[in-house]
């Protein structure tokens, strides 16, 4: 492609050293838009096909009584699907249970995760322990659900035996008990995902300026003061990311709940996505399911807005710190 003219331009004698900072003005300014557009197009079209097109379908479905049998047209239902939600006790309870579940998961995970990270930071065994701790994250949530179901079993479950042995449990069953089932489900999530919080916090701890810590210690601060007034403020952006990501995943992944309790007993663990699963894929009321799905998606979009804001600032800060 290079013509002689091009080479002539490029090899023109240049006085001194020319440093190119970023996009220099010139014949090679930056790739023209149409070329980039062609590169972008296949992915964007595919993504539109599997996300925007279904979204339009979803909105259509919320306004209809969807018939799955072939040859029967969908019946226009107006806003019935939505107005029925307002009086749907299970729907409202699903939201409450979702927030309760998330609050429990997040508080335990953040507490444990930060503790693990602080202890592991600069520990002799940091590398090997981190490697071991991240094993549960690689497991499919369904398998984790089965594994914990096995451990909780009333006749041969090791955790059931342990809880009985230390006197916390009187017999009966864990997953069949309205009070215990929620904690049982939360424990599974905590087991799988606390390591992620620990890893995020660990990455944050590595960036706490040592100078600040030293200055603080010279001034006589102990380990607690050191953590709360130097390390923690530096960790906030990381913790915020961790919380947002985990909250998002709390309603993205319901696999283990479906396996362990299916939302029971007496709807004690029926968080909204689980309810949506039942409505859409057990009772096949797809119109009503679509209305519920739409409310969930709205929350997602809200979260997305917060996330993109949060992602932008700390990311930039972290990256520039790393580069210099």
């Amino acid at each position: 492609m290079a013509s002689i003219a091009d080479i002539g331009v490029a090899s023109e004698p240049v006085r001194g050293v020319r440093t190119i900072d970023h996009h220099p003005e010139g014949f090679n300014h930056r790739p023209p838009r149409y070329y980039l557009l062609w590169l972008m197009l296949p992915a964007i079209l595919l993504l539109a096909g599997i996300s925007l097109y279904p979204l339009i379908w979803l909105i259509y479905m919320t306004l209809h009584e969807v018939q799955l049998a072939p040859g029967r047209p969908d019946v226009w239902a107006g806003f019935d699907n939505f107005s029925r939600l307002a009086s749907d006790k299970k729907f409202l309870r699903g939201w409450l249970t979702l927030f309760k579940y998330s609050a429990l998961c997040l508080s335990v995970e953040i507490g444990l995760g930060v503790l693990v990270a602080v202890i592991l930071n600069n520990n002799r065994f940091e590398k090997i322990l981190v490697t071991i701790f991240l094993m549960p994250m690689m497991m499919a949530p369904v398998i984790a659900g089965f594994l914990y179901m096995f451990l909780y079993n009333g006749t041969f479950g090791w955790y059931f035996w342990l809880l009985q042995s230390i006197g916390l449990l009187e017999g009966g069953s864990i997953l069949g008990n309205k009070f215990w089932a929620m904690f049982a489900v939360v424990a599974t999530d905590v087991w799988q995902w606390t390591p992620l919080i620990a890893l995020i916090t660990l990455a944050g701890l590595k960036r706490v300026p040592q100078e600040q810590l030293e200055a603080h210690m010279v001034d006589g601060a102990g380990p607690f003061r050191n953590f709360f007034s130097v390390a923690l403020p530096n960790l906030y952006p990381f913790l915020l990311i961790a919380i947002l990501l985990r909250f998002m995943d709390n309603f993205r992944f319901i696999d283990h709940i479906l396996i362990m309790t299916g939302g029971g007993p007496a709807n004690a663990t029926k968080i909204l996505p689980t309810y949506l699963f039942d409505v859409s894929f057990k009772f096949f009321e797809l119109g009503r399911g679509a209305a519920i799905a739409l409310t969930l998606l709205l929350l997602t979009i809200l979260l997305g807005l917060v996330l993109t804001k949060v992602f932008e600032d700390p990311t930039r800060k972290i990256r520039t710190e790393r580069e210099h």
Partner: protein, 292 residues
């Protein structure tokens, strides 16, 4: 730069804290490893041994866990009677297929998004990331109806397409971050040397290759571990390992030995892959927001 080493003086408080932190680490270690250990051990036990427990309160009897004759019968039964070989193949095809589609198309789009400036770019990026964050169940409701009418339910292409709904936005978003770190000057130099723009793009691929490889692995992991899409969209013709495992639960009896064996079969390859891409794991799981 201040020194990395901070002189620490022994104080009673510090000794107590140190003791407590060691105790906590041991507790957390046991809490993390014990379920995995029980899973592996139980998969080698026959039915009677698996149900052995010490008496309530008898902590000395924990040794019962290792008191058994190891048997590979569950694994053999999985692959002979339960056709897990087929499901393993399905899992592989679905997750690899989706990863290949996502990363190949995604890297082109990510490169373009990284180099282009245009109005609405932020909105486009927002759309991409919110697609990734949408709850799987909510996405599945319309997708199921669409796939049903086009005959994609129960087929591997349908499943690949379903996994692409979360893998493609993931790949675009995270690879854009990667291309952002490659200086434009490199492509420029290549073009000065006579490369076309496409050749220049191909030239910088090796620079991001480690990351590209890592994110292919992560896409495989997401697809492999998925259950919701697989159970609804893949049901019937395209059963994957997690779905097949869930089907071992039968009304009369739950076949725990085989479930544990299936758990090992499903989990162990992913753990190795996880170790392989250890460096990129945190970046991948936080959508690139946190780097180690």
């Amino acid at each position: 730069m201040a020194s990395r080493e901070i002189v620490r003086y022994r104080s009673p408080l510090r000794s107590v804290l140190q003791g407590l932190s060691v105790l906590f680490l041991i507790f957390f270690f046991v809490w993390t490893v014990l379920p995995l250990l029980i899973m592996v051990v139980s998969s080698f036990k026959d039915l009677l041994d698996a149900f052995q427990l010490p008496e309530v309160g008898d902590f000395g009897g924990v040794g019962v866990m290792f008191d058994f004759e190891p048997t590979g019968a569950h694994y053999v039964e999985l692959f002979t009677e339960k056709h897990f070989g087929t499901y393993l193949r399905n899992s592989l095809i679905a997750s690899l297929g989706s990863a290949a589609v996502s990363v190949s198309l995604g890297s082109m789009a990510a490169y373009a998004l990284s180099r282009a400036e245009f109005r609405g770019k932020r909105d486009l990026l927002f759309w991409i990331i919110s697609t990734r964050m949408a709850p799987v169940v909510a996405v599945m409701v319309p997708l199921y109806v669409i796939f049903r009418s086009s005959g994609l339910v129960g087929t591997l292409p349908g499943l690949i397409l379903a996994y692409t709904t979360f893998n493609l936005p993931f790949a675009i978003w995270i690879l854009k971050g990667f291309f952002d770190n490659v200086p434009y000057a490199i492509e420029e130099a290549a073009q000065c040397d006579g490369c076309t723009r496409w050749q220049a793009f191909r030239l910088i691929i090796p620079l991001v290759a480690p990351g590209l490889g890592a994110f292919i692995v992560l896409c495989v992991l997401f697809g492999w571990n998925d259950f919701l899409f697989a159970t609804i969209i893949g049901s019937g013709g395209a059963k994957t390992l997690p779905v097949a495992t869930a089907e071992l639960v039968q009304p009369v009896k739950i076949q725990w030995g085989m479930i544990m064996a299936a758990g090992v079969v499903t989990t162990v390859p992913m753990m190795f892959l996880g170790l392989l891409i250890r460096r990129y794991l945190v970046a991948g799981l936080t959508m690139g927001a946190v780097r180690e």
